[in-house]
């Protein structure tokens, strides 16, 4: 076999925390041949992005290569001078980042950023590169390929930006592209579009690629081979089909098994039951733009209603209406059958106590300067008037409830906790008020699958013990399947369909629900091809959504 294009041997990387260097990647080997796509998969902290960047001879601040070699086409990237590497970067090795919105410079037009590498690396003139950009935009099925490049990043949608970034990576026709979680920040319907575009263009130009992701189903569509990583170690590597059919290692099997947590739906509430929260006919606006139109749904005791939809569909706005942060312009919200004032400032402490929230980013939702004891003690004192030693006992009880040993955690700061632990504190803080109803806003989407699953299980247990009602906002249908009793599907600020979970997951669906469901990648390498055949190539993603109107 020919020499591989990229040859990594015993790659060892160290990261600095508090002035100390600790090993974060422990001797990984990797071979990549021309035109081949390798999937790197693992949870956060597995070292996949760090390896991806090291494959370009690049390390972020606070990371260094301590051992091993990276050879690209015979060039030693570990010891090469910066000027040598600069001649390769952008020209022969390109990078596609996770968030295109953050990785395009907000101050320049797309086309100026696209032509930068070809012009500066003397591959093409500005004119040629502009013409080429338009061709690439067309190949990636961007709307108005002639014109879209002359827009600024903020004038282009997320999915389109991600494709424009892929076009930019292609601008010098590199031999290797590193894709670093390019679809993680996108909605499922948009994700399909980007996946298809990336796959087609990589195939067409015979580009080799490293595709980094934490989503197995996605990597199954994209990669020829898959390498599984765990905490800086390689777990195993095999061709995609082999890896999916016969995973060898327990860790790999545990990744596969994550999606198996599913709670049976509870029997429907009796007809005369009064819902804990009842939303009827609410409209809401930001300024002059109306964002919610006649939204109604009920949430009964000890039940979970999942609200699903793409970003911008109004799920979080509906939550803001229920909490009273954004008073609706029309409609009624009832708690236990009694009208709730629409503005939170007009609600009594007792009414406020009953409705609590858990946020997506536990990171930013916890005050970084308060200890866990203070964070949990405050709502206990505020809502329940418990002070002093009794308050501390309550905090300990709460920590116990969320499965964190109180003696160890009560005096820590949020920065000393992991993502999953922070989210547990977020849950404990909501429980501190002893509410009847909790809004969970994308509470698992920032977490790894294994951690997310443990959070879902915790929420399920608390629901059974405390008869809690949840409004569960999510865009992840696997989560819905796991935890919901009822499902509300939203689109453009309206409820398009609602009903019990079992009904929602069996056809016939509303066409939009159908589109959402069918857009969730499946653990089958042929899934994307099949889907594209069914829908017809021109009818994917945004286009399909638009058609539905």
């Amino acid at each position: 076999m020919a020499e591989p294009l990229l040859k990594i041997r015993n790659l060892t990387l160290e990261g600095r925390s508090d002035e100390e260097w600790t090993q974060i990647v422990n001797g990984v080997d990797l071979d990549l041949h021309k035109g081949e796509v390798l999937g790197l998969i693992g949870e956060s902290g597995a070292g996949k992005s760090t390896i991806g960047l090291a494959a370009m001879g690049f390390t972020r601040d606070g990371v260094r290569i301590s051992d091993g070699s990276v050879e690209f086409d015979g060039i030693d990237l570990v010891n090469a001078r910066m000027s040598v590497k600069r001649r390769l970067l952008g020209k022969r090795i390109a990078y596609v980042a996770q968030s295109a919105a953050a990785s395009f410079n907000p101050a320049h037009k797309l086309i100026d950023q696209h032509t930068e590498a070809p012009v500066r690396h003397d591959v093409m003139s500005r004119k040629e590169s502009e013409a080429d950009a338009m061709e690439l935009y067309a190949k990636l099925r961007l709307p108005n390929p002639e014109e879209i490049g002359f827009r600024f990043p903020h004038q282009v949608s997320g999915g389109q930006l991600q494709r424009a970034m892929t076009a930019m990576a292609m601008s010098c026709r590199p031999d290797l592209i590193i894709f670093d979680e390019p679809t993680t920040a996108l909605d499922v319907t948009t994700q399909i579009e980007v996946l298809t575009a990336i796959r087609d263009i990589v195939e067409q130009f015979g580009t080799a690629a490293i595709y980094i992701t934490h989503d197995l189903a996605v990597v199954a569509q994209m990669a020829d081979r898959i390498k599984v990583l765990f905490r800086g170690d390689e777990v195993e590597e095999a061709s995609t089909r082999e890896m999916l059919d016969t995973p060898q290692e327990d860790y790999t099997r545990s990744l596969w098994a994550v999606r198996s947590f599913e709670r049976p739906a509870k029997p429907a509430p009796t007809a005369d039951a009064v819902p804990v929260i009842s939303v009827s006919g609410i409209d809401a606006s930001y300024g002059k733009t109306q964002v919610l139109h006649d939204v109604s749904f009920d949430i009964h005791e000890a039940r979970t209603v999942a609200v699903v939809g793409e970003s911008g569909s109004g799920k979080s706005t509906a939550a803001r209406c229920i909490t009273g942060l954004l008073p609706p312009t029309n409609g009624v919200i009832r708690l236990d059958g009694r009208d709730l004032p629409l503005d939170y400032r007009k609600r009594s402490k007792e009414q406020l106590r009953q409705v609590q929230m858990i946020y997506q980013m536990a990171d930013t939702a916890l005050n970084p300067r308060k200890t866990i004891g203070q964070i949990l003690g405050r709502p206990i004192e505020f809502y329940r008037d418990i002070k002093g030693r009794a308050r501390r006992r309550e905090v300990e009880k709460l920590l116990d409830e969320v499965e964190l040993p109180a003696s160890e955690y009560i005096d820590r700061l949020p920065s000393e906790l992991s993502g999953g632990q922070k989210q547990r504190i977020g849950i404990a803080r909501a429980l501190a008020a002893e509410p009847r109803f909790i809004i969970c806003d994308e509470v698992t989407s920032a977490l790894d699958q294994l951690v997310a699953e443990s959070i879902l299980k915790l929420l399920a247990r608390l629901q059974d013990e405390r008869k809690l009602s949840y409004m569960f906002i999510t865009h992840d249908l696997a989560t819905v399947r796991a935890i919901a009793d009822e499902v509300v599907v939203m689109k453009d600020g309206e409820v398009v369909e609602q009903g019990p979970k079992t009904e929602m997951f069996t056809p016939p669906h509303h066409p939009y629900t159908d589109l959402l469901l069918s857009s969730v990648p499946e653990m089958d390498p042929d899934w994307l091809n099949r889907l594209l055949d069914e829908r017809g190539r021109e009818n994917i993603g945004d286009a399909a959504v638009d058609k539905m109107g």
């Binding site: 590497k85 020209k91 980042a97 990785s103 907000p106 590498a117």
Partner: protein, 331 residues
């Protein structure tokens, strides 16, 4: 674009309102100054009758509120009144108070000189400071960066007159390249004017550089961890190109604000430098007028200073808003 226009008009209206409020404050403050012109000018011979007569001549016997509105009405029409000292002098030589030199006539050439000095300084200092800031960001944490910081902080921490004398020592006395006196006058050629202004301009450059340079450096470094900077690096762009093309355009807003603040300082706060170099700017006139309680001149100077601050900050606001592409190119 109409969006931007609305913002600018709003800011402009707010600026005028601020100026109006400031005028009240100035008038009140100046009238609170102990002693008055009549007493100061008469000195030992201040008999109650003489004081009374001068006060009547100058209208100082009128109630404060009335005087304020008189003054305001004049100011709005561009008439800032007549200097007490000039009016008093005019009445001595037998002409009416109204015939004396107006404050406008008195201030205009001084203000022109001040603007000239501020302009020359800005032309030197702004490119110098921003350039130095960019280089310090590029070579951050190196000896160059530290050296630049020490130089800038030393010069901002030293008293202005000290910097002035050090520069005179090196550039005028030991090496007689530049004149140490900056007594410029009307009808002087631009070349000579520039030459005479250079020393005070360099002194002021040393004073204002630190602030602008450090803000430029900090604003750029602040952005270096952004994903789009990493992207530019991963495209193989050179460090200088990354900073100038990718970081600087996004760092403009804070830099513009600091530049504006320092330009305002150049117009309003340079009296010490003017005294050292005998530069006939507005600062000296202002201090002299305070000494003899020449209220119309003091008020006019204050008003000009306030207007300069408001105008420059307004300009900075508008430019910072325009530096945001989201505002310039709405969806």
């Amino acid at each position: 674009m109409s969006n931007v226009l609305t913002i600018i008009l709003q800011r402009l209206a707010l600026g005028i309102l601020t100026l109006f409020v400031v005028s009240v404050v100035i008038f009140a403050a100046v009238n609170l100054l102990p002693g008055d012109f009549a007493q100061v000018i008469l000195g030992q011979g201040a008999t109650p009758e003489a004081v009374e007569s001068i006060r009547r001549d100058l209208g100082l016997d009128q109630p404060v509120v009335l005087r304020y509105f008189d003054w305001l009405a004049g100011a709005v029409q561009g008439d800032l009144g007549t200097s007490f000292a000039q009016a008093n002098f005019a009445s001595f030589v037998g002409e009416g108070a109204a015939r004396g030199t107006t404050v406008m006539q008195q201030i205009a050439p001084r203000f022109e000189n001040t603007m000239f000095l501020a302009g020359v300084t800005a032309l030197i200092a702004v490119p110098f400071a921003v350039g130095l800031g960019i280089l310090a960001a590029l070579y951050r944490d190196t000896a160059f960066d530290k050296g630049t910081n020490i130089f800038a902080l030393t010069s901002i921490s030293s008293p202005e007159f000290f910097l002035a004398y050090v520069l005179i020592l090196f550039l005028a006395v030991l090496n007689p390249w530049l004149p140490s006196l900056s007594n410029i006058y009307d009808g002087m050629g631009l070349g000579e004017r520039l030459q005479r202004t250079l020393l005070p301009a360099l002194t002021l450059t040393l004073v204002v550089t630190a602030h602008m340079m450090r803000m430029t450096r900090a604003a750029i470094i602040n952005l270096l961890a952004s994903p789009y900077i990493e992207m530019a690096r991963l495209k193989g762009m050179k460090p200088m190109h990354v900073i100038v093309r990718h970081a600087l355009p996004n760092a403009l807003a804070p830099i513009i604000n600091v530049v504006a603040l320092n330009l305002a300082y150049l117009i309003t706060g340079v009296v010490v430098v003017e005294v050292v170099f005998v530069y006939p700017g507005i600062g000296q006139l202002f201090v002299d007028s305070v000494k003899i309680r020449d209220i119309p001149v003091v008020q006019a100077c204050c008003l000009i200073f306030a207007a300069a601050y408001i105008l420059l900050n307004l300009l900075a606001d508008i430019l910072s808003i325009l530096s945001n592409p989201r505002v310039r190119h709405p969806k």
